[in-house]
């Protein structure tokens, strides 16, 4: 649906050139909710703007629905843009127009007859749950309501792609959740492919099925959300995962046992393995004592995802054998290294 092929973006200023994107390769499939996460300045904002040509790529190709938009004539490009909806961090609604007129705007631009506009706008306002606000002005709405109007406006021309530019970053957690559920509903009910950028890993966890982690103009990691969350490879990805999955061993605990460094393991369960009685099996099989330090379970993409931190005491050889046994079960286990 959206394909980035070796895309580079360079901003030229008089004195120097700044490379915002350094060769991006990404594929967003139809029906995906694809999340791009990164710190500010990573280039994700530039990336999403290349899809509807708010920015032009310096090198490489961006294919949308198999078409390279840069090769289109202005008129064809405008028609193509109507198939790509976009919502923004700061909503970008017209303050001089009512909610109704804001949502109607894309239809007015394409010269839709007014009775059709009326019907479509009413339908959209109903879908986002704000039918009663049609005559209000944006400055009379809350942030969450404004974003829902933004969504209604983006959907007006029946797009097949929705771009979300930090769409929930200006909202409080509760409102964020409501907006995310709405996006999920759009993806399911209308089969609209969603590409979103965010700096909040919780957004990815909540609705995305695929994720790309960006850093300094590059995609450093990408894959299914479950894979990236359970096995993050890069430090950036690990840091982002850590913001939503708390599996850190508190430092104070490690310091309290200075004399005899404890053996601490971190065990991740994904999907079906989370149902097996691992600990009791170990306790019966090996001469080791287990002390659960922390455990939690959450759900990613409707798959249970848990982690467990345990302290293991006992004979060194028994401990090593136990470690091997857990690995053999296909369970992800790693030793927590205590670094001073």
């Amino acid at each position: 649906m959206i394909e980035f092929q070796d895309v580079k973006k360079v901003y030229e200023t008089k004195k120097q050139a700044f490379e915002a994107l350094k060769g991006i390769n990404l594929t967003v499939e139809k029906g995906d909710i694809f999340g791009v996460v990164g710190y500010s300045g990573a280039g994700k904002s530039t990336l999403i703007r290349l899809v509807n040509l708010l920015e032009q790529p310096s090198e490489g190709t961006v294919l949308v629905g198999g078409k390279d938009l840069t090769s289109l004539k202005p008129k064809e490009l405008r028609a193509e843009k109507k198939k790509i909806g976009m919502i923004f961090q700061h909503f970008n609604l017209l303050n001089s127009k009512t909610v109704f007129d804001n949502v109607a705007m894309p239809l007015v631009l394409s010269g839709t007859p007014s009775n059709e506009i009326k019907q479509r706008v009413e339908e959209l306002l109903e879908f986002v749950g704000l039918s009663n606000k049609a005559k209000n002005y944006p400055d009379q709405l809350s942030g969450g309501q404004k974003q829902r109007i933004g969504i209604a406006r983006a959907l007006a021309t029946n797009p097949s792609i929705l771009l979300c530019d930090e769409a929930t970053s200006a909202l409080d957690p509760q409102t964020t959740n409501a907006v995310l559920q709405l996006l999920k509903k759009i993806n399911k009910e209308y089969n609209i492919t969603i590409l979103l950028i965010t700096h909040e890993m919780s957004v990815i966890k909540e609705i995305c099925n695929k994720v790309a982690v960006m850093e300094a103009g590059k995609v450093v990691e990408q894959g299914s959300v479950l894979d990236v969350f359970s096995k993050p490879q890069t430090d950036t990805a690990k840091n982002f995962v850590r913001t939503v999955i708390h599996d850190e061993v508190p430092e104070s605990f490690l310091k309290n046992n200075e004399k005899d460094a404890p053996v601490i393991w971190k065990i991740n369960f994904v999907g079906s393995t989370s149902g097996k009685p691992l600990l009791s099996t170990i306790a019966k099989k090996y001469e080791v004592h287990l002390n659960v330090l922390s455990a939690n379970i959450s759900e990613i993409q409707e798959t249970p995802f848990g982690n467990l931190i345990i302290e293991v005491t006992g004979d060194k050889r028994e401990i090593d054998e136990t470690f091997q046994y857990i690995k053999d079960q296909g369970i992800l286990v790693q030793e927590v290294v205590i670094n001073d």
């Binding site: 708010l54 405008r78 790509i84 909806g85 976009m86 923004f88 017209l94 705007m105 400055d139 009379q140």
Partner: protein
């Protein structure tokens, strides 16, 4: 001097005629300079870097021309333009003749003010318009102008008041108007009462214009 008012050297009729002349000159020159200044102001905005109609050539040639016109004092403009005025209006003297230099004076001023007003419009709005696939023209009249309207109203209020002031000097080419009365009677003939009455009239005009502008602008801006 049977028709004089409050001991002034001028008649009530003279005052009314002057009032009418001022309004006539302000209204017509505002109309023409608006018709020229508004598009120029829009051009100054959309041709600048990273805007919807980026064009170095237009921007870099328009910008200094406006600055040059803006820096010529009105009284000099008035005299310097006499040949041109004669060519356009047929005469260089009188109320209609004054309108030509007034337009030259106000159009670049309005262009600058319009530029400032439209630059206030949030870039995000324009980005949203572009994402919707709006044409350049649609962005201007569906997004830029409605979003900048409240500020544009204030812009035109300021320009109108500027024109009221400028018409006073138009007396130099025999244009008449309230300002001319103030100069030729109040100032040159030491007629203090005329001076007070005419200045008071100008104050009232300016006050009315500004209040109307503020009210309309506020109404559009809402809350």
């Amino acid at each position: 001097m049977t028709n004089t008012l409050w001991g002034m050297q001028i008649t009530a009729e003279q005052l009314l005629t002057a009032f009418g002349d001022t309004l006539y000159m302000v209204a017509l020159s505002l109309l023409f300079s608006g018709l020229i200044g508004l598009p120029l102001g829009i051009l100054l905005v959309i041709t600048r870097k990273d805007h919807i109609f980026e064009n170095k050539w237009i921007f870099n040639s328009l910008n200094p021309v406006i600055n040059i016109l803006r820096s010529v004092p009105f009284i000099i403009l008035l005299v310097a333009l006499i040949p041109f005025t004669r060519f356009v209006v047929g005469t260089a003297i009188g109320t209609n003749a004054a309108i030509v230099p007034l337009v030259f004076y106000a159009a670049p001023y309005i262009a600058r003010l319009v530029e400032n007003s439209l630059l206030e419009v949030d870039k995000g709005i324009i980005e949203a318009a572009q994402a919707m696939g709006a044409t350049t023209w649609q962005i201007i009249y569906r997004f830029l102008i409605p979003e900048g309207l409240s500020s544009l109203i204030l812009t035109f209020t300021t320009a109108t008041i500027g024109l009221v002031g400028a018409t006073a000097m138009a007396g130099a080419v025999g244009a008449g108007g309230v300002g001319d009365l103030a100069l030729s009677y109040g100032y040159q003939r030491f007629d203090t009462m005329t001076m007070i009455v005419t200045v008071a009239a100008l104050v009232i005009i300016v006050q009315l214009l500004q209040s109307t502008g503020n009210i309309v602008s506020k109404k559009i801006r809402r809350r």
